[in-house]
Amino acid sequence: MSLFLIVALPFLGALLPGLMNSAGRQACAGITFVVSLSAFIGLLTNAPAVLAGEVVTVGVDWLPILGLNFNLMLDGLGFFFALLILGIGLLIIAYARFYLSRDDNMGEFFTYLLLFQGAMVGIVLSDNILLLLIFWELTSLSSFLLIGYWKHLPEGRQGARMALTVTGMGGLAMIGGMLILGQIAGSYDLSVILQNRELIQESPLYLPALLLILLGCFTKSAQFPFHFWLPHAMAAPTPVSAYLHSATMVKAGIFLMARMWPVLSGTPEWIAIVTTAGLITMVLGAVIALFKHDLKALLAFSTVSHLGLITMLLGTSTAFGAMAAMFHILNHATFKAALFMSAGIVDHETHTRDIRKLGGLRHLMPITFVIATLGALSMAGIPLLNGFLSKEMMLEEVYRTELFGSVWLVPGLAVLGSLFSAAYCFRLIAHTFLGPKRDDYPATPHDPGAGLWMPPAILVVLVVVIGVAPFVAEPFIKTVTASVLGGVVDVPKAYFKIWHGLVPALYMSVIATVGGLIVLAIFKPLLKGWDAAPRPEAKVIFEGLVEAIVALSQRLVRPLHDGSFTRYSLFAAVAIVGAGIYAWMTGTVGEATRTMQPAGIVPIAGWLMLVAAAIAMVFLHRNRLLALILMGICGLMVSVGFVYFSAPDLAMTQFTVEAVTIILLLLALNFLPNRSPIESSAFQRSRDIAVAVVGGLSTFALTYHYLLRDAVQPTISAFHVENSYKGGGGTNMVNVILVDFRGFDTYGEIIVLGIAALLIYALTESLLGGPVRARLLNRKPDQPRAGDMHPMMMVVLTRVMMPIVMLVGFYIFLRGHNEPGGGFIAGLVVSIGVVMQYMASGFNWTTARLRYPYHGVIGAGVLIAGLTGIGSWFVSKPFLTSDFTYVRIPPFNEFELATAAFFDLGVFLAVVGAVMLALESLSRLARRQQMPDAEHPMDIDPSREDIPSSMTAKGEL
């Protein structure tokens, strides 16, 4: 079967259990089993080739530039691990079917399990380290889901997140390491990397790469000091623990170390780091395991210890060590999975995993007892079981190993580790199964059905078979070892056998076993001592660390993002000004190329006014009306300045916009408080002043700099000057630029205006439709309102003025192309005319007589402008291409017809519509309750017969 299919099957199959969920538990587990089995069989079809020493590869390009390709390879090592993953996986699936209760969502479980399985298979089959990384992270993710499967358990959630955090950290570090490795080797393909031992080990980047990769391996394989997550992952359902911690997840780190063995091992750094970490983990795990009362915790720490053992073996960097490691992996997987499952059975039957509450189960659960005892004895390294064999090999290896110049260090610690290892195994057997039968089990235990005990039983058979006849496994393990060694050194010739003679390893083994028994005998006093001894709890430290980081980031992020716009803008201003100053300081300033023009009295006076108004605004801004008036002055002076510097169009625009803005702000100010209270401290104010002054000085300097220098080349506007009449048909260059050369800008601009109006309208609607409405209706003014809502004189004047304003607007519109003016200004002028009418006779009276919906006017304006532009498509010209002609109809003078005028009409309409819609919406907000219906345009009209009495209350005031 193709390797692709082997990897893909679990992933594809992962969909099935979820879908089959409704079909029942049997179907669910069944389909999972079938999927897994197919992959397993698929793997086996490749066995002959692999066992013959071939490497099966397939590959497809994915992201060749990056060097990330979907290349898979199957060699002895990969085959070995895949076999474990899929084989034990099958047993686990069978076991889980019976283990999970009816409340558990089985489809979800098996989906996660298959995802995990696929990811694991992916890791061991990857021929590309980036691909491997992807699968690596996938195992973190899917194990996260598996560990957190029982979502209602806080331990489950926390364990899951801890596992994800720690292994995720390692995974991310590994990304760095792998990228460096790939960079050194020039390829991310394992097959290439593995050929480059010298290149890699001599590179200056070797050490960082090694450290980062080892960080990944150690976190994944729970090596000290990252060992703490593994026991907490035991919160998962037992099948998960059995799977993750015997054969799969935690072995991924080991696998990678084995995989990288040919290129990374052998250096002093490798030996020092890996051996030390392994050794510490082994001893520490064993010691802790001894004192754990939770069966699963005990097993978890024993796993930690054994992983340390394997790591240490790999760290020694000898061929024999590697072979021992491989062998122990196999053995560990078998007995540990069996033990976990047994523990699960105990838990399942007695409803407790606390050793202290157990004992005497031998009588009640004989089958489980046999399975567990065989597994535990194997773990303890008792002869005739497979654990003994690999332990012997380990001891033999460590006997030869020298670390930090000491020949005793490694063997001594290894024996110590084995001793404790034996001790906890014995304790497991003795305290759980042996001893008298108790009558206080939380539930009545008995042996479960075959579904639960069969899978561990199968494994125990393997334990015994290999233990009795090690030569069965020998060729296989040697093939695996060969692929680990990758041809760097030869596979050792040593034979696997039970009796090697009276070698040092045997003595050490005996010491360990006997010591283990002694420790068990004096367990109670030891436990007391252990409980009394202070010891750092890694979980607490880790959680404290994460808490601290969270607290730190909260302290950093929260105050910074507390919604204080004042600070935001201050930050922005300082950043901008600072960047500008920096750019200035690091540049070079040349000579001025222009001379300063003399200033007359008018500019000086204007300058004074502007400056005075601006400064007055700073001091008087708390009085909002006054600030508004001062802003009006600024606007006025700016527009006078525009006139002075030959920009009549601008002056007009500025002034009309100013007027509309003031009206708008007045409309808004009607609701807002009339004064701003003092809220900033003196310090804040002086800080603000400092920033403001520096900002002002920078702008001044920049402006002054530019004003005294010419542009680097003549500006492009020379073209506009030359062609505005020839090509645009107008003498007002500004207007021609607006409607022709850069008409697209103007098009965008009217759309901006239109959107602004729509937005204001939409917001008004939503305000009036919301809770604000009642408040608005019953709003009380904070000042008494003067009488005479619609003063007569104003109304009368408006009657004459409004048509004239319209006329002027029309005039400005028409003239715009050649003289200052244009659709935009005309639009504003006309709107102001209408606003005058609104102000004079009031909203209701005016609106009642209005015939055009402003929405439509805006839409029409934008559409006209757009369609005018599109019109040029019909003559195969780009959008907005203009054309013009001159016509003469008596008695009129010759006048110009330009498409630009239509565009300008669109502008005009859009502006009128937008301004009016905005103002209208705002004033609609101001409707109060009991607003008299406006029958008359003015309140006081002596010519009217019916003198209004509603407004008059005689005799008062």
């Binding site: 309102r785 005479d788 004047l797 309140d939 006081i940 407004m951 008062e956 005031l957």
Partner: protein, 129 residues
Amino acid sequence: MNFEVIELYITVAFLLIGAVFTMVAAIGLLKLGDPMTRLHAPTKAATLGIGSFLLASMSYSFATSEGSFHEVLILAFLFVTAPISANFIAKVNIHKRSCDMPDAPTKDAMWSTMDVPEGDRDIEVRPDP
């Protein structure tokens, strides 16, 4: 002395008149002591001053080029709008109690500005200083 020169002198005259009245308006605005009296200066002196400038511009254009008369339009605008502005500002002054209050009218109940809507009568007036 031809026609153009006369027009130039007329221009000068208008300019001078304009300057004087503008100045008067400004002085009045600053000097006078009561908001209502202050109102008198700019509404007319300034109107007239600026009006003179406009006329000067007109006569100058007649002197130097074809001549234009659209300044009259602005002049008209100013003259038409100035009373309304003044009227509004006077109303503001009355409403804000920033001047002496007039006696109640003899014919009607009260001046329209003081005809505060009933709902607002219990709100305290915050007069300007």
